[in-house]
Assembly symmetry: none
Homo-oligomer: 396 residues x 2
Amino acid sequence: MRQLAIPNETKIVLAVVDGLGGLPHPDTGRSELEAADTRHLDRLAAESACGLTVPVAPGVTPGSGPGHLALFGYDPLRYTVGRGVLEGLGIDFDLQPQDVAARGNFCTLDGAGKIVDRRAGRIATEQSAPLCETLATIELPGTQLFVEPVRDHRFLLVLRPESGELSDRLADTDPQREGVAPLAARALAPEAKPAAELVDRFVAGARDRLNGAAANGLTLRGFARRPDLPSMPEAFALRAAAVAVYPMYRGLAKLAGMSVLTTGTTYDDELATVRERWDDFDFFFIHYKAADTAGEDGDFQAKTAALEAFDRAVPALLDLGADVLMIAGDHSTPAALAGHSWHPVPFLLHSPWARRDSVDAFDEESCLHGALGVFPAVDALPIAMAHARRFTKYGA
Amino acid sequence: MRQLAIPNETKIVLAVVDGLGGLPHPDTGRSELEAADTRHLDRLAAESACGLTVPVAPGVTPGSGPGHLALFGYDPLRYTVGRGVLEGLGIDFDLQPQDVAARGNFCTLDGAGKIVDRRAGRIATEQSAPLCETLATIELPGTQLFVEPVRDHRFLLVLRPESGELSDRLADTDPQREGVAPLAARALAPEAKPAAELVDRFVAGARDRLNGAAANGLTLRGFARRPDLPSMPEAFALRAAAVAVYPMYRGLAKLAGMSVLTTGTTYDDELATVRERWDDFDFFFIHYKAADTAGEDGDFQAKTAALEAFDRAVPALLDLGADVLMIAGDHSTPAALAGHSWHPVPFLLHSPWARRDSVDAFDEESCLHGALGVFPAVDALPIAMAHARRFTKYGA
């Protein structure tokens, strides 16, 4: 793809509706998109090439990382974002390439050191934040330590070597059950032994400092370093920008090499930011979160309302005047499942060069009959590049 | 595939309509195929399994080489045909495996040796042919030299080592712009240094001989050797023949190991040739060019007319009595884009064993709903082999 990319003046907008796809409501047989009044999306679908994206692989339910990486043009089976890294992205922590990050949970230990509550009674952030500050005072040889509160009992641990490399090939210390002690750090590869020792030292230091606290223990999982992704802007010769209210999505875009733009707290703010910076970039990733949140809550009505709210923003999206506008989802989040799912996700591509199809509604069933068919999400960006006339011919 | 192929008495015809697919006309919303009176194709579609082929990969616009190689059963991302080789095929030059071929352009240099016209005023073939003859007299050590006129300012350079190997890993000498001198030959790999020296010697010899000529300089690009393709007839156990008016398509078929049959100058001539040699082969590739030419010219009406002319030949194609008849395109060439495009290409397969579908018109939108769906072009030949009962079962 890198060899095909050529410069052009055209603009591409990727509007991601998080958790876009759904499933029929058991009472009505209609999915969230079918039940919602999405008149603008339906009209746009009639003028677009439609299809359904398979986020990772058939039957595979993606997390937010792979769902987005695929839409950014990365094979999500090849490029992975570890849990620790995602946790860091989620709180806007500025992860460096040498950092080893892990997700931490405060827990409650009994007198014998066994876990009696894996979440320390879901201790409030106000209580866990001071504990993080205390833990950050632990001293580790040759290593900078960061302990950042995330929410409730969750925190982020980052080990930053002052020189050299630190491996992230460490097993979780979280035994994933109660009645046993947290596990000792264990290297999964010989080169991870120094990292395992550092983690053990940290845990030992924490034991002293947490003695008598609201949470007297901790577990760690998802040790990971930032993935070394090829730069999406370089690979596709695009000045690429990301606009997202939630830090995790800004972080994923940053991993892909996009410029992350400062924006406000609403989708209208995001669109205003795109308008302001329209001339500075060729590609904009714009993130809409509310549909996923409602789906995760299992709230069909709230998801329908979130989709309708997005629909009302579609005219403004169109008014941006992109040469190629994609409406996509990182995965489905059916309210019926109250979580992410493996189902293909409705997709549309609006462009003067898009093939016509007979689809005139934007939903799971209609998009099935669209010109783009059911296709891997990782192909979306190359297809958009073609429609933006930013790919040269392959082969003589 | 090679292990699945079994002998049979059945015949397969692959009728390629170059540049078959199109895009809607902005005034009517109908594509070339939709606008054309293709009554025979439509009737055939109703009795066939239809689909759309993706020539190379989603979003990728193929040249003629990859577009045809895919239909011949080769993964076009794995097997590539360099520009120099394609240029040789296009003038029926009998390229040998050891030959290094390049596309040459005559250009005009100023007193300082800088390019002032990259095409030497599009010098006519009548003027460039004698220059080629002159250049062919240059002597290179241990190497036979061929300089063949192609058209206007274009020529073919072939270096044929009298013994041993010559690498084609050379950078273009064409700087792709004016105001600078042609580049010196540059080896892209250590083993290409001897080839680079030969090219520099050739260019030096040309400088003397072109002094004062209508074109006093030259640039070279697309250095390439014939790709080492597995033989398609062997891999599929087929006696395969190619019938094409234009040399480039005969050349591509020859690379694939097909027998190239002598034919006339029209599609009727091609069909007559196939009839004459019907008993001698199991597989016929028959090439129809006019649709692509009209599309490249951006002439919607001419493309419609070319498709109608092809349609009139469909009864004769059917009368051949093949067990499997495929109507396919190497790529789309929408008049709206005046060039090749990435859009999937209508495809039909006629056979007693083809799955029924509801498609009753042969166009982009109708084929989308066909039994074959949207599928990689490289799968077309295996699918045809199956319908011809020329594949055995895979696995016990």
